[in-house]
């Protein structure tokens, strides 16, 4: 009898897992089903460009089903819950699907309603987010008519998807207002709960320097307790306030709501406790997790999901064969950081090594932690690779899942400390 593999979520992780598994198992060997509540697969890195008119909804959305190879079933439905005891998924309409292996790939969702005032008066009027297509599109219109004043970019709390994106937004806003000739009339401020511009020391120092060069004020350790859109200010729990004319807020994130309705599956924030090296869930041995849905201690980013794919599929295969799991996932993360003016920075790191300067993937490669036009082109070209290489489950020649070290300058020599 064929194995039943059910994949929850048809985004980056679910799609590449399904396509990779389809190559490992014939249709006689395994039934593969992908479940998602809608048929809009959004290229999420593209959301950053929408507010600045550099990308539109049409450019970054494609049907989910079309990204799946032949022989993969696609079910469009919301998920009610998972029953780990009986190995069954119950859909919104009460239908149940049994599984031998379950893959949780439902990512992270925005929970703006958890922050006092955020979705009240002013939401989508003076307060926006670019983390949803609707928000990014509405923000484009608001920016187009913004002729000066205080623009505040605020991260409410970690974890968030793509922790560099709000910084990129600041850099692109600086460029955008320069191009419009009104940069001197716009006060840009980045307000973060972290104690620096970024989480990792060497990159944090470099990025803080870039904010300063571009005239973006940095407010740190600001734990946003309230967003008052009508009154135009953010309030921190410690009593500090930051005033704004336009706020771009990255709301709190959580795992998908059905995880909260599935006893034993998720944690307090509906993320799934997961072994950081094998990607097997801690909830049950036949449940695996990929991408933002997992609580593994690395960035919630598409590159992580991409690098996880290889180990995940190998481990599903080993689990079904009764073999010990591969423990080689190292938390590899790789992000292009748009810095405006046709340039970008590249960072590359894993669980143990913070982002360091040097070159990627080897000494003759893209510059790390340094601005270059080549990195910007890399970021633009990546969108093509996403649809035609990453989702189909192809590897990039010369790019391994584990983090390369050969082109990097060690932390001791780059003035870093290791946490």
């Amino acid at each position: 009898m064929a194995y039943r593999v059910v994949i929850l979520g048809g985004g980056t992780g679910g799609t590449l897992t399904a396509n990779r598994l389809r190559r490992v198992y014939s249709e006689a060997e395994a039934d593969i089903t992908v479940i998602d509540q809608d048929d809009r697969h959004i290229y999420q890195p593209g959301l950053l460009f929408v507010p600045f008119g550099l990308a539109s909804a049409d450019d970054i959305v494609r049907p989910r089903g079309r990204q799946l190879h032949r022989g993969i079933a696609y079910v469009k439905s919301a998920i009610d819950h998972v029953d780990l005891g009986s190995n069954q998924v119950t859909l919104e309409n009460g239908t149940t699907l049994g599984y031998d292996v379950l893959v949780v790939a439902t990512g992270a969702v925005l929970v703006p309603e958890e922050t006092e005032g955020l979705t009240d008066a002013g939401w989508m009027d003076k307060v926006f987010t670019f983390y949803s297509l609707e928000g990014a599109t509405a923000l484009e219109a608001a920016l187009a008519t913004f002729d000066g004043g205080r623009l505040v970019v605020n991260v409410v709390d970690m974890p968030i998807k793509c922790p560099v994106a709000p910084l990129e937004f600041c850099f692109l806003a600086d460029w955008y207002f320069h191009e419009r000739g009104i940069r001197d009339q716009v006060q840009l401020t980045y307000v973060t709960p972290l104690d620096g511009a970024f989480t990792k020391p060497v990159a944090s120092t470099r990025l803080a320097g870039m904010l300063a060069e571009k005239g973006v004020d940095l407010v740190t350790e600001f734990n946003t307790g309230e967003v008052d859109g009508a009154g135009g200010h953010l309030a921190a729990y410690d009593g500090r306030e930051v005033e704004f004319d336009l706020a771009v807020v990255v709301p709190l994130h959580g795992g998908a709501p059905y995880i909260g309705r599935s006893p034993g599956l998720g944690d307090e924030l509906n993320f799934v406790p997961t072994d950081e090296h094998t990607l097997q869930s801690k909830a049950a041995p036949n449940v695996f997790v990929i991408g933002d849905a997992a609580n593994v201690p690395t960035s919630k980013a598409g590159s992580v999901t991409h690098f996880e794919g290889e180990v995940l599929v190998e481990n599903i295969h080993r689990y079904l064969a009764g073999d010990p799991l591969d423990q080689s996932f190292d938390g590899h993360t790789n992000c292009f950081i748009e810095t405006g003016f046709h340039k970008a920075l590249l960072i590359d790191f894993n669980y143990d090594t913070e982002p360091l300067p040097g070159h990627y993937p080897t000494r003759v490669g893209l510059p790390l932690l340094a601005e270059s036009r080549l990195n910007h082109l890399g970021k633009l070209m990546f969108q093509w690779f996403y649809w035609h290489g990453l989702l189909p489950g192809r590897d990039i020649p010369g790019i391994s899942s584990t983090m390369p070290e050969s082109g990097k300058i060690p932390a001791e020599l780059s003035g870093a400390r290791k946490d």
Binding site: M158, Y237, D238, E268, T298
Partner: protein, 105 residues
Amino acid sequence: MSTVTIAATDVELNDEGFFVQPEQWTEDMVPELAHREGIDELTDAHWQVIRFMRSEFLSKGTGPTVRVLGKTSGVSIKELYQLFPKGPAKVAAKIAGIPKPRGCI
């Protein structure tokens, strides 16, 4: 890293003031650790949060973030900031003798 004497016992703290070896911690160190963080009067609510931090660390290997504390400790985030104005998760972690909560990646 530095060695500090708390409640007549030598303990090792890292540069940020977190315990390097959480097993060196005992409950009678709490008043002195709290004093170092500017808290002179420990209420029942302080103790509730400190004990909760400690037990979460022992069962999960990391202390909770402020957001998780607000959801699970029985004390709201607003009250947590009243109890530990300089940042509930960090300060309570220092007083509870556990490493810096690993929420920020």
